[in-house]
Symmetry: C2
């Protein structure tokens, strides 16, 4: 292989086939992908979940992950929070000419490690190369398909007054880790991205069936904006308690240093659950037994049907409305 | 709306919601997309086709189309050539900061015109904005899901000795049109891209059931490379007749001027069918009745099981092996 990716690797011709055969396909190979037809043919019946995300994170490699891990986990998580079992992924690469082949190889290793760990299969893909300066190293799109069990009714629009809000762990880890990677910052206690596939945790949670009203992973927009989205979709008011929200000490210090509010900093391995009050404690207990939900906590609840406000009760007992993120906090965080 | 796209339009926060609500969603709105959850939930049963493509065409607007039309048609076609009825698309945008909002609006109009014309629905999406210089204006990824009728067995690996090869029309139109747009070339007879959704044509074709062995759209790599792919997947030899291959006079002249071989120039609204010999004439007749297949022609046939060579019988009676595209002919043609 050449040491860097050339324009001709994206031609669709000989070099593209060589790149796919020697570097892209080997780690993720399976009988569906190997057919190399224009679409994969899948046998599915019942309800399916379908989602997509493009990943443009900068830098490609950061403490706790890289763009490949992120691209697999991000789409797995968008399926999982709808209660789906993730099954199939597409993988589409836009590569800038000159990307070191070794970087692409490392990223493909991350992708195959994640698909192997989760049993999710990449079944279709695409590779484009653009000339130097027309993209920044590598962008990845993944779309995903999952199967949705009967008897679930999870949506951002289904939060109900009285619901308890459970958060699966500490917030802000991903955003701070990427910023540290980008700016080459060193913290006394290093912060790693929480990037992880949440499908085992959501599988535990959906065993509670109709008691689960809404689930969402608070990714690039952070906890505050995600709560605002659900409050707005469900037309309810939400109250959360600052002291109940787990934040790592290192993340807190880094946020103070960088002038960021952890409520608006990105996460890639956390989720929020809006659950019926009578089941909330049992759900919390179950979540805490899963390594991905060890630090789960009930952080607030849904108040009466209303205009979609999110209110934060602060440590000193004051209340303030927290709004959606306005402006751009940290570009290219995912 | 601002006159250009800002970084904050990709934050996932307020401005992102505003951009989606005011500019991206209106033309493509439907009850599934409108839920704005992390995945769309779809009711499907039986076999489905799943595919993805990223589009990086330069320029964004070219004679006969734009990146939006291309992104919808390209994925519809990758589903259609597998015999699937295209149903659902995802739409993921990577926008360079500074893209004129009016350009994005025009492109969204193309997308909604194509989804309206085909009945295919965009049900999930994503929008990222990267800082100026980190992408070239706009990249679009679409993934697609279609439903595959029973009784079909279409694959690039299913071509059989004796199969007749039908091409649905003239070759090279898309590649020449994009080059003309990029280099601001003016030809005496203007060339337009053939970019079109092929699902109505493939629906006609698959009514012939098991007589259809392979179908593929010869896109960025052109006719020659696509035939090589099928010959190699099926391990057969293919012979095509130069004089049977329809090429527009204007495309031929442009290719001579630019030093290109139309066999390797991109198409975005054409397909190749490998069909059982006893049905080939009837399939050809049917294809010629569809406006998208009016110029269809039988261009060659499959010889004995062999090593996957494609042989061109030239106008003067000579034979030469035509190989896959090597190197890069026209970067960013789709």
């Amino acid at each position: 292989m050449d040491k860097t990716i050339l324009l001709a690797h994206g031609s669709g011709g000989k070099l593209s086939h060589e790149l796919i055969r020697s570097l892209i396909a080997p780690g993720i190979a399976n009988d569906l992908l190997n057919r190399m037809d224009d679409s994969a043919i899948l046998d599915i019946s019942g309800r399916i979940a379908f989602t997509t995300d493009s990943f443009v994170v900068n830098p490609l490699f950061f403490p706790g992950g890289d763009i490949g891990k992120l691209a697999v986990c991000g789409t797995i998580n968008d399926l999982s929070v709808m209660g789906a079992s993730p099954l199939y992924l597409s993988l589409s690469l836009i590569i800038e000419e000159g990307l070191p082949t070794a970087d692409l190889e490392k990223i493909m290793h991350s992708i195959s490690a994640m698909t192997a760990a989760t049993g999710v299969r990449v079944v279709t893909g695409d590779t484009k190369v653009v000339n130097r300066g027309s993209a920044d190293k590598l962008f990845i799109n993944t779309a995903g398909i999952g199967s949705v069990p009967d008897g679930l009714n999870i949506s951002g629009a289904n939060a109900q007054p009285g619901d308890q809000i459970i958060l699966s762990g500490t917030i802000g880890d991903h955003g701070v880790a990427v910023m540290a990677g980008r700016e080459k910052l060193r913290f006394k206690i290093p912060v790693e991205s929480d990037c992880a596939p949440l499908n085992s945790l959501t599988a535990d949670i959906i065993s509670f069936g109709q008691a689960i009203h809404s689930m969402r992973d608070p990714t690039r927009v952070g906890l505050a904006t995600t709560l605002n989205e659900i409050a707005s979709q469900s037309q309810v008011d939400v109250v959360i308690n600052e002291t109940s929200i787990p934040v790592k000490e290192a993340v807190n210090s880094a946020c103070e240093l960088l002038g960021l509010d952890p409520l608006y900093v990105a996460n890639e391995g956390k989720l929020i659950v809006f659950a019926a009050a009578d089941q909330a404690q049992a759900i919390l207990n179950k979540m805490q037994q899963n390594p991905l939900g060890r630090d789960s906590a009930i952080i607030g609840e849904v108040r009466a049907k209303h205009s979609g406000h999110v209110v934060l009760k602060t440590a000193v007992g004051a209340s303030r409305i927290i709004d959606m993120l306005s402006g751009e906090l940290l570009p290219r965080i995912c």
